[in-house]
């Protein structure tokens, strides 16, 4: 028996004895459970196409109303893996003009996103580590009375998953979850670095317009954050506007004289 299978067998024995052996994050304060996001669309998935269905759910909810899972499948589905990669969920969100924010992987992070009106795309392993069954679904609410998480999942528009089982299946992806946001309105729960990290890949992925918009939002919302100004400078530089870029790098240095990359970028673009 492999070490992995052995560990699972042990876990099974413990579960059978105690009823609950796998620790998850605290379930949060469910008495304060946010209202279910009933307006979130539902797309019934084709076999193995939970990725395109789940991302279409988020993107349409965010205002890209013309999108469908079938429109996204060609750029998301990996035939030989019969599934979708997380990295490409992020990349395609950006290509569709949305900032993909990976959320703080915990029940509290999930509740904060729902509370702000953002459905959360989660990666679950519905099987076990040694027989994985990876699945994307979209959390739209928590039913405190029934003790369930409400999901758009597979063919079910309102699947109720008991919270403890949901947490176990979600834990196997290290609580990976994401929301999408328009670049000109960062969600209230967004942390400054989280927002910058979500938008930064756009720069080298040919999505400079998205980077510019998202960093402009960052500078407005966190005006004291040197990194936001530096990032906005980088986006201007990526779009070919060196003069504007230098102004933002200088702003960044005024806010934080130790920000070496802003200093380096100014030096690299210094006029002769």
């Amino acid at each position: 028996m492999s070490r992995c299978a052995w560990r699972s067998a042990t876990a099974l024995a413990v579960v059978a004895l105690s009823g609950c052996a796998l620790r998850g994050p605290a379930p949060g304060d469910l008495a304060q459970a946010p209202a279910e996001l009933a307006a979130t669309p539902f797309f019934e998935q084709r076999v193995d196409h939970c990725g395109p269905a789940a991302l279409a759910t988020l993107l349409v909810d965010s205002g890209r109303t013309e999108l469908t899972p079938d429109a996204l499948s060609p750029v998301l589905f990996v035939p030989e893996r019969a599934g979708t990669l997380r990295t490409e969920l992020l990349a395609v969100s950006r290509a569709q003009g949305r900032v993909p924010l990976t959320i703080n992987g915990s029940m509290d992070g999930l509740l904060a996103a729902l509370d702000a009106g953002y459905p959360v795309l989660v990666l679950q392993n519905l099987g076990v580590r040694w027989i994985p069954r990876w699945h994307y679904a979209v959390v739209v609410g928590v039913d405190a009375e029934r003790g369930t998480v409400v999901l758009r999942s597979g063919r079910e528009p309102r699947r109720h998953a008991p919270i403890d089982i949901f947490l176990r299946t979600w834990a196997r992806s290290d609580y990976w979850g994401m929301v999408v946001s328009a670049p000109d309105a960062a969600p209230p729960f967004a942390q400054p670095l989280q927002w910058l990290r979500a938008a930064a890949p756009a720069e080298s992925a040919g999505q400079t317009g998205l980077a510019l918009a998202a960093f402009t939002t960052a500078v407005t919302r966190w005006p004291e954050l040197a990194l936001a100004h530096a990032a906005l400078g980088n986006a201007h530089y990526a779009m070919g506007d060196t003069a504007q870029a230098r102004r933002y790098w200088q702003d960044a240095l005024r806010l934080n004289p130790d920000l070496q990359t802003a200093r380096d970028n100014l030096a690299a673009t210094a006029p002769d």
Partner: protein
């Protein structure tokens, strides 16, 4: 050995890669800037060509059944760091997609796991 490689060496390569690739162009991009801020002393960097990583991912995508023209578009939508990450991890990355091929005793084990609430294989999809 594979384990060691996956856990330590490849992430280091990925972390240092974007910094290097943009630094060569003179101006450091935001992705690399944020990584440099998070780990300012990670400077035993090795050069991995951004083009090379993208070529690698494109080839792997084609091998995984993606049409060459579409693979081109998909690779273009990745950042430098994402391309490097996928070049190193595409084989191991979890692909969400429901596929489950089990027979015999494994099926019975899954039924038991489901009954005690460890898995959610049979009801969810």
């Amino acid at each position: 050995m594979k384990h060691l490689l996956t856990r330590f060496v490849l992430p280091l390569l990925v972390a240092t890669f974007a910094w290097q690739s943009t630094a060569m162009a003179g101006v450091v991009g935001t992705e690399a800037m944020l990584q440099a801020e998070a780990a300012p002393h990670a400077d035993d960097r090795q050069t991995i060509d951004a083009m090379l990583a993208r070529d690698n991912v494109r080839a792997q995508m084609q091998a995984l059944g993606i049409d060459p023209a579409v693979a081109e578009e998909r690779v273009a939508g990745l950042s430098d760091a994402e391309a490097a990450h996928l070049a190193a991890n595409i084989e191991d990355a979890a692909a969400g997609g429901d596929a489950l091929a089990v027979v015999g005793v494994v099926f019975v084990v899954l039924l038991i796991l489901e009954a005690v609430g460890v898995t959610d294989v049979f009801k969810a999809i």
